[in-house]
């Protein structure tokens, strides 16, 4: 696959992660949503893959429109059973009958059922991905209860070891910039195996370069890796139907 030869793919190990937790961080100046869209397209491009997309930020039509320009038909994928889209724009974990804890428990179990069904004998998906857009809205849904959000993410991360699926979450890091101790952000960084950070250029705005991407691939002790390199930093340009990654000064 030619698409998996770019710098982002190289930083992630030349293949989509298996059994890992991927944290995408961005800020107001530079949105990291394009990374989520790109990974969604690449996940669905694999043979017999399955994606559970937890959408708290935008409706299905938003992602469908973006992915269609990138050459991926989300409606068809959903129809074929490769995509389980959970549209939770007005999701609130607390309700009259449930506490926040119960609300997240139900959401987790819905995700778990979906993943286990994908791994069942009839439709055995080789690669399963759980995507969440985004964590800051989960915190709102939890009435600001950071602990409940972390419990939910912990349970989602247990699926990565039990079912070899990967968890990809988007988080707006500057939401916590005014806090003295951004603990939720630090918890997420401790939890993640791969961090992808979108940030503006150090030199400010530019017409041809939209920002810089930093990928930290932590790996594990038993990770067989040819290269010891763990950190990549490169620039990107978001085009109409693709994204271009390049090192500074090497853009064609």
């Amino acid at each position: 696959m030619a698409e998996l030869c770019d710098l982002l793919a190289e930083a992630m190990g030349h293949s989509l992660p298996v059994g890992k937790v991927v944290l995408i961080g961005d800020c107001v100046e530079t949105s990291g949503a394009f990374v989520l869209h790109l990974l969604l397209k690449r996940c669905l491009s694999l043979d017999s893959s399955f994606v559970v997309f937890v959408a708290l930020s935008h409706p299905f039509s938003h992602y469908d429109r973006i992915l269609r320009k990138m050459g991926c038909n989300l409606s068809a994928q959903k129809k074929n059973g490769n995509l389980h889209f959970l549209e939770l724009l007005d999701f609130s974990a607390r309700s009259k009958e449930n506490s926040v804890d119960d609300g997240f428990c139900k959401l987790y179990n819905e995700i778990r059922k979906s993943v286990e069904a994908a791994r069942s004998k009839d439709t055995k998906a080789s690669c399963v991905y759980i995507m969440i857009d985004d964590i800051s809205l989960l915190e709102i849904a939890a009435d600001g209860s950071e602990n409940d959000v972390l419990n939910f993410l912990h349970y989602c991360s247990t699926l990565t070891s039990e079912t070899d699926c990967s968890l990809i979450i988007l988080n707006h890091e500057d939401v916590y910039s005014s806090e003295d101790a951004p603990r939720l952000l630090a918890h997420l960084q401790h939890l993640s195996d791969i961090e992808i950070r979108a940030a503006p250029l150090n030199t400010g705005l530019a017409a041809d370069v939209h920002g810089q991407l930093t990928v930290i691939n932590k790996g594990l002790l038993n990770d067989d890796r040819r290269s010891g390199r763990r950190i990549w930093n490169f620039q990107f340009k978001v085009k109409e139907n693709s994204v271009e990654f390049f090192y500074p000064g090497s853009q064609h």
Binding site: N109, H154, Y155, E173, R183, A186, G228, R230, N233
Partner: protein
Amino acid sequence: MAEGLIVRSLRDGSLPGEHAPALCLEDSLPSPLASHSHAVFRHLLASLLSTGTGTAVVLVAFHRSPSFYLSLLSPTFHNSIRLLDCYSDPLAWKSNHHPPPPSHSPQNITLLTNLNHLPHFLSSILHLAKDLGAQGHDRVTVAIDSVTHMLRHAPLPSVLQLLTNLRCHEKISSLFWLIHTDLHEPKVISSFEYISTMIASLQPIVQLPDYANANISASITSLEENYSKAKFNVRLKRRNGRVKLLCEELLIEQGSVKFSSVPSVSSVVAQNLIPKVQFNIQLSDKERMDRANVVLPFEHQGNGQNIEIYDGRRSLSESQKDPSSTKIGGLSEQKRSNNNKSEKGEIHYIRDSDDEQPDSDEDPDDDLDI
């Protein structure tokens, strides 16, 4: 050396009537970015199990699945370890909705589903420890990965009390836990340090100003170095109250953790403080001896010998050998004599202290109130 001391202390346990030794293993995101603290945690586990002294381990797994820890340990150690699974379903979210099928998990893994109830948590650990003791293991170490997860489900006093109860229990010979310092307030970290007998912290080799907001593009090399190396600072509390500090370097090489000693901080600092100039500003040993033999003006010898004027051209020892040397009045001894026989002026030189070095930097005018 530090690692050996830690393992020996955990392995030996405590003397009768004392609390079990406890190791607090600390890390934070900048030090380093990879999960090296968990690597050290697993390294300690393997070291304890491999000592061949009958040490067994009860591992409380929060951060990774129990099967992950078992996969990293040799199968020969599996009989010496019991795992309390606080990772898979700590709040019973799975078991309440879908009763679990008949367990196919290994016999040495016990699932805990009510982490919010600490007394049950404690009794589960002690049950596993007794189980190991019944199998002939004299020493049982409890390892917790990590207390950061515990603190999300229980208040600090309850967690501290649980750890103290473990240290007091007769079945527990030692205890160690991991904590992420950047996820707690300093007072929380201090609380855990107070109840521990050993504190081992991982520090980055290269200090960066702010990990979260760092200009990563400018510090990639430093970040990469922090991935492969870390400082391993250990603080050991002795029974007599003395504290021993050790600083080593930790390396991650091909999946294994290695420790190496580093040059002492004082010698490194001293080398760095000496300015690099083109002339020699240090003294050799011979030069130090010669300086010590120099007789300063107006100094008496205190040995009852005749006072001799030091004219600056030769040392006292040479002048003593010279038969032509004469006694010249004019310089009096330090003894305050009321001898008024001398008709010439006297100079009384009194040192501030007998310990004052000839080239003391002390300014004699410091006491003037100008």
